[in-house]
């Protein structure tokens, strides 16, 4: 038993570091570190740099154009990328719909969609949640009625993250209203520019436009855009949810955030001394850093089990809960570190293209907004309450 990397993994890590140092645009990294928003262009630029290197679709099998990394290598990449300030990849295409298409799609679907995801030609968004179906996904009401070679789709999706940038949406729709909730659901791929699709922004409490409502008004979707069988969409949904949960602990991101927090605490003053020397604040830092270390080791253990051929079980629910709590705790401490300087709400200073002078410091501008924005971590992707239900049911068999 040893926790060190093998020489090969160590070499890989150096390679990744070298690449990031060279290829990651500093303007993007700076926005990430400061918790500012990223524009569509920022995301696409970084994706294309990665794609060119062959590292964009890290989770894809080599046959489909993935780099063929081991689980540990993927982890190393994620951690190094986060430490360097690389944006977290928008996962809807590359890491959500792609695995579903690979697993359940037709050859035509694979041939058509996967290269377009790799190239960045398509930007996908997710059509899962509805106003009446949040944690209870099986309650989707958006209807799809078969008419010849088309489904006619009517209904509404919500919380569609970055839908404003997307040209494609994958949806759970109800094709059999008589069936039991989890049956009668179908998985459809829909063009966002189909007639009858409209989108409305939802502003979040930090004043940000990150999520949307998407409306379907008699939208005609070719039957060829169905993934898997009719009424068997729940299988795809479950498969995707498992994929989504893995890696949600966000250890790399939290480590980068903690490093940033310490830097800030080294600059902010309290009682005439840097805050990081304040005994109580130091204890707060210590507590969160210890927790993060424990989650990191736990993540490595699960990865090692997966590498050894095991499947990530409901343990990933534990990591999702702990990981989100830690990220939220770090964002809380960052906000706290800034004292009254966390209050000013100057949205232009968080904008992707802000180049002016900061009211106080660059790192203060987004701190409070980000704290509020990150409340989503314990809500989306299956709320922490739902994760606990999963643990109770799947691990504990209660």
């Amino acid at each position: 038993m040893y926790f060190e990397l093998t020489p090969e993994d160590e070499a890989f890590k150096n390679e990744v570091r070298g690449f990031l140092a060279e290829a990651l645009p500093e303007d993007i990294a700076s926005k990430v570190r400061l918790g500012k928003h990223l524009g569509k262009e920022d995301h696409q630029r970084w994706q294309q740099i990665l794609a060119k290197k062959g590292w964009y679709a890290a989770n894809w099998p080599q046959d489909y154009g993935g780099p063929g990394w081991s689980v540990v290598q993927k982890h190393i990449f994620e951690e190094e990328a986060a430490a360097a300030g690389a944006p977290r990849l928008v996962s809807f295409g590359v890491n959500m719909v792609a695995p579903v298409i690979m697993q359940f799609g037709t050859q035509e679907q694979k041939d058509y969609y996967l290269p377009r995801i790799l190239s960045g030609e398509d930007w996908w968004c997710q059509g899962y949640s509805e106003p009446g179906a949040g944690s209870d996904l099986a309650a989707v009401k958006t209807r799809a009625v078969r008419e010849g070679d088309f489904y006619v789709v009517d209904g509404q999706k919500t919380w569609t993250t970055l839908g404003q940038y997307a040209n494609k949406i994958f949806c759970l729709v109800r094709t059999d209203p008589q069936a039991k909730p989890q049956q009668g659901i179908t998985f459809l791929l829909i063009d966002m520019d189909s007639p009858g699709v409209s989108i409305r922004p939802i502003l979040t409490l930090d004043g940000e436009h990150e999520v949307n409502e998407v409306f379907f008004d008699s939208v005609r979707v070719p039957v060829a855009n169905r993934v898997g069988e009719e009424n068997k969409g729940w299988t795809c949904a479950k498969y995707l949810l498992t994929h989504e949960r893995t890696g949600q602990a966000g250890v790399g991101i939290s480590k980068a955030a903690l490093a940033h927090l310490k830097q800030v605490a080294g600059r902010e003053m309290k009682n005439g001394k840097p805050l990081i020397e304040d005994p109580l604040f130091r204890l707060r830092l210590a507590e969160v850093e210890i927790q993060l270390l424990a989650v990191e080791i736990s993540t490595l253990r699960i990865l090692a089990a997966v590498e050894g051929g095991g499947a990530p079980g409901a343990e990933s629910s534990i990591l999702k809960i702990k990981g989100s709590e830690i990220r939220q705790a770090i964002s809380q401490l960052l906000r706290q570190a800034l004292g009254a300087n966390a209050l000013p709400f100057l949205q232009d200073q968080i904008d992707p293209d802000f180049t002016g002078e900061y009211r106080y410091t660059d790192y203060a501008a987004a701190a409070a907004s980000q704290y509020f924005n990150l409340r989503k971590l314990s809500i989306y992707g299956g709320s922490n309450e739902v994760q606990k239900n999963i643990i109770a049911k799947m691990i504990l068999e209660l």
Partner: protein, 380 residues
Amino acid sequence: MDFNLTEEQQMLQDMLSRLVRDHYSFEKRMSHYASQEGYSTAFWQQLAEQGLTGVPIDEAYGGFGGGGVENMLLMKELGRGLCLEPVLASQIFAAGLLQQLGNKEQKEKILPLVASGELKLAAALTETNSHYSLQHVACRARQQGDTWFLSGQKSVVVGGASADLLLVSARTAGEQGDPEGISLFLVEPWAKGVTRNAYPCIDGPRACDLLLDEVMVGRGGVLGKPGQVFTTLQYQQERAAAAACAEALGSMEEAFTLTLDYLKTRQQFGQPIGKFQALQHRMADMRGELELATSMTLLAASLADHPPSDERSRKLAASRFIITRAARFIAEQAIQLHGGIGMTWEYALAHHAKRLVMLSHHLGDEDTHLQRFADLLKAS
């Protein structure tokens, strides 16, 4: 021991409650937020007409002569409505300083205008590096004959954007961090050498930064004894903190009610989510925190006007600790129990949550108050 309101206090509460309910719907609040001033000048006018801007001001100067309890009633209802008017900053905090430090002439000149709502004050005491401490003053005032010249900066002056007159702390002796050597000056925001940068705070109210460059203040603009005002600033900050507890309590009650209603109506998995025991117990926890916060708000109100003492400071720190902790817990849990909807700009809850969390950034956070209580801990 008596927790009942007097008849007069009860009337005050009812009047406020009605006023806020009738004139401060969430929709109106958001349009006030987006307005030029960042609050409702009309509502301010209404408060003034009903004598409510005068609640915290001495009767001698045209006010209602209210104390801790009246300020509590005032702020609790304003908190419930997420009201944006600078009542706490101007009428309670800054006017209170003036009442305590001003001479007869200063008070007679200024306070009646404050009580009537015609003139708004703001206390500019903090700087970017002061982290809730009133003694870390770098801003300096230099005396030349009868005139003082102020230079430096003041940071996140809540209510400062709309203030007609500023109370600015500056160092006239000693080194940064010394409690001695701090003085307080009356500064007109449009005086020569004053630059005021205003902005909204993430929890709603407007604030500003001040840049002071050789700003002249005459003899009549010196409040209290030069170099000796620190303890009064501290005392008054505690008074304001007691009132801020009440504002938070009003907001907490509203956030709690919104959440409870949501749990009773929102359906998931075939039933109202309020039927899930884990969520019921969470609500019970929140209700428990609300109970403690209510008690400590009352305690703070009853102590606010007591003469300065370690015991008063200790209990006010305790109150503030309980309230900031409860506020954050309730805010975070209210969002969590709502799910995504709790995070939307369009919904009142999200703004209550922001106010409740950011409360800790105004007059000291949980750790500040916990540390202060620990410092004053009695050994037996």
